[in-house]
């Protein structure tokens, strides 16, 4: 009896130790600025003028798992100078410099500004609080959704921790460092299918596309020739069909439209095809094709990777398809018509008789019985 009691006690102690160990991994960030005094309340929030409920509730244990877990609030929320703070006007922009985090390579305050500037100069570039047509463009967080759960951020393998802690001493540091680097070394890009889906959220939004086409027309601005049907025409191509099926070797949007010299930079500096620096510009196209189609020549670069049968886009194909449809319909109608005509009019041959005495029913002909007149 006594033994069992002590067992229970030991188990409880072991459980507590496990809990403490586990919670140490997802350590809550240190609220040195006192933001949680208010933002720890779940009902913290407001309803905007547009009727949208905005929650300002912060869960430290969740925030402590995000990529920004080491950044103090006011490094990004720079407008906040005192507590309680005034209503926020612009809010967080991704090109802000963090004062608390130093770039280990340069020693300067860390910032997303370099890549933000690249993005800002691209066709997708916009300010955070953009209005009008610019508001349709993606801001950083449109694509960078930073999912909280990332399978690549699991606990590091034991033998790695065991090795690192010998010099780096702190297990938490090792875990965080492992998570940070392993996530970035492993492939965490979207799959080709996901990339097409991401681009499609805007480029396949009919209303949005129509808005831009109309505005460009009114301003006399040029738009990409395939702008209005970029996604539909992509799915018409072999690239699109194969990508739709999860085939990863076929080109997705970024394979052609982003500069391949540095993929991660290239996807941020997408330019319209009329820009000479764009990989799909007429002068660059061959080089872009050759990245996969190694034996492609200049003629090959003339092929249309966004084929359509629209009259405005490709009159040749439009009329060719029209002719094909007519031929198909005429041939099938003609042949089926002839077959029906033959069957109907050959009743006088005695179709019923042919069925009864037809020669292909059995091995033995049944013609022997009666003489037909």
């Amino acid at each position: 009896m006594k033994n069992r009691q002590s067992n229970v006690g030991r188990r409880a102690l072991f459980g507590l130790a496990l809990f403490l160990l586990a919670s140490a991994g997802a350590r809550a960030f240190e609220d040195s600025e006192g933001c949680l005094v208010c933002h720890k309340y779940p009902r913290m929030g407001r309803i905007t003028e547009d009727g949208v409920l905005r929650s300002y509730y912060i869960q430290p244990q969740v925030y402590g798992k995000t990529v920004h877990r080491n950044v103090p609030c006011r490094d990004c929320h720079t407008e906040i100078k005192e507590l309680p703070h005034k209503p926020v006007k612009v809010g967080v922009t991704c090109n802000t410099e963090c004062h608390s985090i130093k770039n280990p390579a340069t020693g300067k305050p860390f910032s997303h500004k370099p890549i933000y500037d690249v993005y800002r100069a691209s066709i997708h570039g916009r300010d955070k609080l953009a209005t009008g047509l610019d508001a349709d463009k993606p801001y950083c967080v449109t694509c960078h959704t930073n999912p909280l759960y990332n399978p690549a951020e699991n606990e590091p393998p034991k033998q790695i921790v065991a090795r690192c802690v010998i010099c780096h001493e702190d297990k938490d540091f090792v875990t965080r460092w492992y998570n940070h680097t392993s996530r970035r070394i492993r492939e965490v890009r979207r799959t080709p299918g996901e990339i097409v889906a991401l681009c499609s959220t805007c480029h396949d939004d009919r209303k949005m596309v129509a808005r831009h086409v109309q505005a460009a027309k009114a301003d006399g601005r040029a738009l990409g020739r395939k702008f209005a049907y970029a996604v539909d025409s992509y799915y018409e191509s072999f690239h699109g069909k194969m990508t739709r099926y999860g085939f990863t070797a076929a080109a997705n949007c970024l394979d052609c439209h982003a500069d391949a010299a540095n993929y991660f930079k290239g996807v941020h500096e997408i330019r319209p095809s009329r820009d000479p620096a764009s990989p799909v510009h007429a002068d660059q196209r061959l080089r872009t094709c050759q990245r996969c189609h190694t034996s492609a020549d200049e003629n090959y670069a003339r092929l249309d990777p966004h084929p359509t049968s629209l009259r405005a886009d490709n009159p040749f194909r439009y009329y060719a398809e029209w002719i094909y449809n007519v031929i198909g319909a005429v041939v099938i109608t003609g042949l089926v018509g002839l077959a029906l005509f033959e069957t109907y009019r050959r009743r006088r041959d005695g179709v019923a008789w042919l069925l009864r005495h037809g020669s292909s029913w059995r091995r033995k002909s049944r013609r022997g019985r009666d003489r037909i007149k």
């Binding site: 090959y300 031929i327 089926v336 005509f341 069957t343 041959d349 042919l354 020669s359 029913w361 091995r363």
Partner: protein, 309 residues
């Protein structure tokens, strides 16, 4: 039966080519004179083996038919879910085959087999024709080559179907339907092979064609491949299968594609000119026919009314 001029021509050619002597010729002429002028009465009363009585297709042609039969359907089965990728059945069909990466490999492999079957066919035709030319038994009317007579046959068949003629035309070994179908299939297969090759080797085609044509050619081929495939599938489903399974007198099926033989009644009904050649070439057929004519009291008979049925 008094032979029409085209039938007489065919008979004379066959007699000459087979070096038929005067005695045998007399026998053949006597037999033909006994044939009932009404060919409907004639074909309906002959005794036929459902599996076929008279030689029609060599083993090579039968193997080629089997090869095209199997490859065509497999190509359609694997090609449709690639083209109609966004329809509800395409996903499951692809999954059934092991995913689109497998489907396309199957499609291409089978395509190679189909191309080989086509080459085999061309080789058979070429060597067969050369052999016949050498033996002096070649007759253009006996081949699949379309001739002006086919237009006449088509017209007369339509008149028969519409009740304005009493007899179907006297057609040759390959009638107008078979010639249309054969050349449609031959043309279709060629289109499929050429357009398929532009998908598989786009760089090669781009390098071969003049710059102004490259894009148009690729567009045209992208249209041609699925359109031709669908057309071929519909023609096979509605036209070929109708003619070999459902047309009056053919139900449930003809065995010719397996046995290589055609039934006597079918030969007389739709390929009368070829039947005349059979009478010249096969003495045993003459004997069998004579017996049938006597036992069924078919010999002679009044001349057929070619006008009103």
């Amino acid at each position: 039966m008094k032979l029409s001029k085209p039938a007489r021509d065919v008979l004379e050619t066959s007699l000459r080519q087979n070096r038929i002597d005067a005695r045998e010729r007399k026998e053949i002429e006597a037999l033909i004179a006994l044939l009932p002028a009404d060919r409907v009465l004639f074909y309906k009363n002959v005794v036929s083996n459902p599996l076929g009585d008279l030689y029609r297709y060599s083993i090579h042609i039968r193997i080629q038919h089997m090869l095209i039969f199997v490859t065509f359907l497999t190509l359609a089965f694997t090609g449709l879910p690639i083209h109609f990728f966004d329809s509800f059945w395409a996903g499951p069909l692809n999954a059934l085959l092991g995913g689109v990466s497998v489907t396309r490999i199957i499609h291409r492999t089978i395509a190679v087999i189909m191309i080989l079957a086509m080459a085999y066919h061309v080789l058979t035709l070429t060597l067969g024709t050369l052999a016949r030319l050498k033996a002096g038994t070649f007759d253009l009317r006996r081949t699949i080559v379309p001739l002006p007579k086919d237009i006449r046959d088509f017209k007369e068949d339509l008149l028969y179907f519409s009740g304005k003629r009493g007899q179907r035309p006297e057609m040759d070994k390959f009638n107008y339907k078979q010639k249309i179908h054969y050349f449609a299939a031959g043309f279709g297969n060629t289109v499929m092979v050429v357009s398929g090759s532009t998908f598989l080797f786009p760089e090669l085609w781009a390098a071969m064609l003049p710059a102004g044509m490259v894009a148009h050619w690729q567009e045209l081929m992208r249209l041609s491949h699925p359109h031709e495939a669908l057309l071929a599938l519909l023609v096979i489903a509605f036209w070929h299968w109708y003619n070999v399974h459902l047309a009056p007198g053919r139900f449930p099926m003809q065995w010719t594609f397996l046995t290589g033989k055609i039934t006597r009644e079918h030969q007389i009904e739709e390929h009368f000119l070829e039947y005349l050649r059979n009478l010249v070439e096969q003495p045993q057929e003459r004997q069998a026919l004579l017996g049938m004519l006597e036992s069924r009291e078919l010999a002679g008979g009044p001349p057929a009314d070619e006008g009103v049925p």
